[in-house]
C-alpha cells in the first residue's frame, strides 16, 4: 500500500475500533428502548476521568478493574434513576432526560476537574512505541482492532447462545409481547446497559491511552460519532455498528490527511482546509444514510401500522 496513505488507514482503523466499542452500547440500547442514550458518550468520558483519579492513588492492576466496575455501576444507575421512571412517558421526555443526564455528567466533570485537561495515565506495554510496516506508532493502535473484534465475537456468542441474550433479542423485536411472555424486561434492560457501559469502559481505556487528554467534553464527539456508526450499520445490528464504526474512523482519518494526500499526489498545490470537515463528514454520511436507506446497512425493515 502507498506509504503516504498507510498511516492514516492504520490510525483510522484504531479510532474505528474505539468508536465500535462505544457504538455497541448505543445500538443495543436503541434496539431495546428506542432511546438515543445521549449520556453514553459522557459515561465514556467519566470512565476516563475515573482512571485518571484512581490510577493516581492505586496501582494499575487494581485501578483498571475498579474503573470498569465503577463505569458499569454508573451506566446501571443512570438507567435506574433517569430512564426507568419514564418508561411509559413519551419518547421525547426520555430523550430530554438523556440530554439532561449528559449535561449533568459534563458539569460534574467540569466541577471536579476544575475544567482542566487531565492527563491520562500511561498504561505500560500498550502505550509503548512500536514499528509496523516501517511506520512508528503506539502499540495500542495495533491492538485496538483485534481486541474490538474479539470482544464483539464474544458479545455475539453471548447474545445468540445464552438465555439473557435470547431475552434481549426478543425484547428488541417486540417490547410488549415479550413482557406478556414473562420476560423480565427490567433485568434485560439493566443487562443491556451493563454490557454497553462495560464496552464503553474498555473503549475509553484504549481511546485515552491513544489520545491522553480527558476534558468534560471529551465524550461528546466520540459519542455522537459512535451513534452515527450505529445508525450507519443499521440500528440494533451489532456487526453493523462495528463495520459502521470502522468506516467512520477510517474516513475521518483520511479526510484529516486529505490535503496532504492530494498535495503529495500532485492533484492540488496548496492546502484547501478539507480537514475542517472531518467531524462534519460523519454527519453528512448520517444524513445520506437516513434519507436513502433509513434502516442502515444491516438494519431490518419495520412496517408501520395505521
Amino acid at each position: 500500500m502507498d506509504k503516504t496513505i498507510l498511516p492514516y488507514i492504520i490510525s483510522g482503523i484504531s479510532v474505528g475500533g474505539q468508536y465500535a466499542l462505544i457504538a455497541i452500547g448505543y445500538t443495543m440500547v436503541y434496539g431495546i428502548l428506542r432511546l438515543i442514550n445521549f449520556a453514553h458518550g459522557d459515561v465514556f468520558m467519566v470512565s476516563g476521568l475515573l482512571m485518571v483519579y484512581l490510577a493516581a492513588a492505586l496501582p494499575l492492576t487494581v485501578a483498571i478493574p475498579l474503573v470498569i466496575i465503577l463505569t458499569v455501576l454508573l451506566g446501571f444507575t443512570i438507567e435506574r434513576v433517569a430512564y426507568r421512571p419514564l418508561r411509559t412517558a413519551p419518547r421525547m421526555s426520555v430523550m430530554i432526560s438523556a440530554i439532561g443526564v449528559s449535561y449533568l455528567l459534563q458539569n460534574l466533570a467540569l466541577y471536579i476537574t476544575g475544567g482542566l485537561n487531565k492527563n491520562y495515565p500511561q498504561i505500560p506495554w500498550i502505550s509503548d512505541r512500536v514499528t509496523v510496516l516501517g511506520m512508528e506508532t503506539s502499540r495500542v493502535t495495533i491492538i485496538t482492532p483485534f481486541l474490538t473484534i474479539i470482544l464483539v465475537v464474544l458479545l455475539v456468542l453471548l447474545i445468540n447462545h445464552t438465555k439473557i441474550g435470547m431475552a434481549m433479542r426478543a425484547v428488541s423485536l417486540n417490547f410488549e409481547t415479550s413482557q406478556l411472555m414473562g420476560i423480565r424486561i427490567n433485568s434485560v434492560i439493566s443487562a443491556t446497559f451493563i454490557i454497553g457501559t462495560f464496552l464503553a469502559a474498555v473503549g475509553s481505556m484504549l481511546f485515552f491511552t491513544n489520545y491522553p487528554g480527558v476534558v468534560p467534553t471529551s465524550g461528546a464527539m466520540p459519542g455522537l460519532k459512535a451513534f452515527v456508526a450505529a445508525v450507519f450499520g443499521g440500528i440494533g445490528s451489532i456487526p453493523g455498528a462495528v463495520i459502521g464504526a470502522f468506516i467512520i474512523g477510517i474516513c475521518e482519518s483520511l479526510i484529516k490527511g486529505l490535503d496532504t494526500i492530494l498535495i503529495v499526489n500532485g492533484t492540488i498545490t496548496e492546502q484547501i482546509g478539507l480537514a475542517t470537515f472531518s467531524d462534519a463528514f460523519t454527519f453528512v454520511l448520517l444524513i445520506i444514510i437516513l434519507v436513502f436507506k433509513p434502516t442502515g446497512l444491516f438494519g431490518e425493515k419495520t412496517t408501520d401500522k395505521v
Partner: protein, 391 residues
C-alpha cells in the same frame, strides 16, 4: 388546566397583555437610562438582554418541538446563520479590514452605514432592522433546504439529523476557503452592537442597549403567539396530537411541517442576530450543540407547549446561571462560606441537578401547557364565583 375563554375574557386578556407589554417596555427603557454598566445591579440588564435572546430562541424552538411535535436539535445551526448574517452585514467599512485581518473581505458594505448615508440617524436603525430580518430570512432559506430531506424522518432520527446539519453548518462557516465571507473560523466583531445603541432625541441622550433586544424579542414573540393562535397554529397542534388524523382531515403534513420548521428557524436566526449584538462578537465555535441542549432545557423548564412557560423558563435559566447562583462558584452562597465546595463549576452542577429533578418529577415544567392568560382567567372566575357565593 387550560381555560377556554369567552369572547369577553379574550378581549380582557388582549387588553391586559397590551398594557403589560407596554408597561414592561417602558420600564426597560427607564432602567436602561438609570442603570449604568458600572452599577452593581447592572447584572439585571445583562439578564434582560441575554434573557430576551434566549426567550426568543426558546419560544421558536417550542413552536417546533412543543406545538408541532417535531423534535429538532438544529437550533444552534440556525442561530449561527443568523448571527453571521447580521454581523457580516453590519460591520462598518472602517473596521472591515481589521476584522478580516487574514482575508480580503468580499462583503464591502454595511446596512446601517448605507442607510444612514441616505437617511441620517433613522437609517442606522433601519439598517440594523434590515440586517436582523435578513438574518432570519437566510436561516429560513437554509431551513427550507434542510427540511426537504429531513422532515420526513421520525422523532429521534429527525433529532439526530438536524443536530448533524447544525454541525455541518458550523464546519462550513469555519472553512478557511470561505474566509473572505465568514472570516474563516475567526471572531467577527465591531459590528452594530447593543453597547453602541444610543440615540439623541432633541438634546436628550437615550441609551437603548437593553431596550432594543427586548423590543425585538417582544415583537417576535408576539408574532409567534399570533401564529400559534391562528388556523395554522391549530393545524400544527393537530399534527402534534395525531399525525394520521391530521392528514386524514386534509392537513398537508409535509407543507405544514415545513412551515413550522422554516418559521421556527426564521426566529432562531433573529435570535442569533440578537445574540451577536448582545455579546458584541460572533464566532462559529460558540454555536455548538450544547447551546441547543441549553435552549431545550429552558423549554422543558418552562413547560413544553407553553409560550409564556418558555419565556419564564429562559429568564429564570439566564438569571440563575448568570446572576443568582454565581455565589455558588465563588465561595459564598446565602451567607454560607465554603470555598472548598463552592468553587468553579458548582453552580452548573446544582443547576443540572435542578433540571434533572424537573425532567424526572415535574415533567410539566413550570407552566405545563398553560399560559399566563389561563391563570389570570381561572383566578378571575374563581373570584367571581366566590363573590356570587357570598351573595
Amino acid at each position: 388546566m387550560k381555560a377556554v375563554k369567552t369572547p369577553e375574557e379574550s378581549r380582557l386578556i388582549s387588553w391586559i397583555s397590551f398594557f403589560a407589554v407596554l408597561i414592561f417596555l417602558g420600564l426597560v427603557l427607564l432602567l436602561d437610562q438609570l442603570i449604568k454598566p458600572t452599577s452593581s445591579v447592572y447584572m439585571l440588564m445583562t439578564v434582560l438582554q441575554k434573557g430576551s435572546v434566549y426567550a426568543l430562541a426558546a419560544v421558536s424552538m417550542n413552536l417546533l418541538n412543543g406545538y408541532t411535535g417535531l423534535f429538532s436539535l438544529g437550533h444552534a445551526g440556525f442561530m449561527l446563520i443568523g448571527a453571521y448574517t447580521y454581523a457580516i452585514f453590519t460591520i462598518p467599512s472602517t473596521s472591515r479590514d481589521t476584522v478580516y485581518q487574514y482575508f480580503d473581505a468580499v462583503v464591502r458594505f454595511s446596512f446601517p452605514e448605507t442607510f444612514s448615508n441616505a437617511m441620517g440617524p433613522v437609517g442606522t436603525a433601519l439598517g440594523v432592522l434590515v440586517a436582523v430580518i435578513l438574518a432570519g430570512l437566510l436561516a429560513a432559506v437554509f431551513a427550507y433546504l434542510i427540511g426537504l430531506p429531513v422532515l420526513r424522518l421520525k422523532s429521534d432520527y429527525l433529532a439526530i439529523a438536524t443536530l448533524g446539519f447544525a454541525e455541518i453548518i458550523r464546519a462550513i462557516c469555519q472553512w478557511q476557503k470561505l474566509g473572505p465571507i465568514t472570516n474563516g473560523s475567526n471572531l467577527l466583531k465591531s459590528f452594530a452592537r447593543t453597547s453602541k445603541f444610543k440615540v439623541a432625541v432633541g438634546g436628550l441622550k437615550l441609551t437603548l442597549s437593553t431596550f432594543v433586544p427586548v423590543l425585538i424579542a417582544t415583537v417576535s414573540i408576539i408574532i409567534i403567539v399570533k401564529l400559534i393562535n391562528s388556523t395554522y397554529g391549530r393545524a400544527f397542534k393537530a399534527i402534534r396530537d395525531d399525525e394520521i388524523a391530521a392528514e386524514a382531515m386534509g392537513i398537508n403534513l409535509a407543507r405544514h411541517k415545513m412551515i413550522s420548521f422554516t418559521v421556527s428557524s426564521f426566529f432562531a436566526g433573529v435570535a442569533g442576530a440578537m445574540m451577536a449584538m448582545v455579546l458584541s462578537i460572533a464566532q462559529a465555535s460558540n454555536f455548538k450543540s450544547a447551546m441547543t441542549y441549553e435552549i431545550l432545557l429552558m423549554v422543558v423548564l418552562g413547560g413544553i407547549g407553553s409560550t409564556s412557560g418558555s419565556v419564564i423558563g429562559s429568564f429564570l435559566f439566564v438569571a440563575a446561571s448568570e446572576w443568582w447562583l454565581r455565589g455558588l462558584d465563588s465561595g459564598s452562597f446565602l451567607g454560607i462560606e465554603a470555598p472548598n465546595i463552592f468553587r468553579n463549576g458548582f453552580r452548573l452542577v446544582v443547576f443540572s441537578i435542578i433540571i434533572m429533578i424537573v425532567v424526572l418529577f415535574f415533567r410539566q415544567g413550570i407552566m405545563g401547557e398553560r399560559e399566563i392568560s389561563d391563570l389570570i382567567i381561572l383566578r378571575r372566575r374563581k373570584r367571581k364565583a366566590g363573590k356570587e357565593a357570598a351573595k
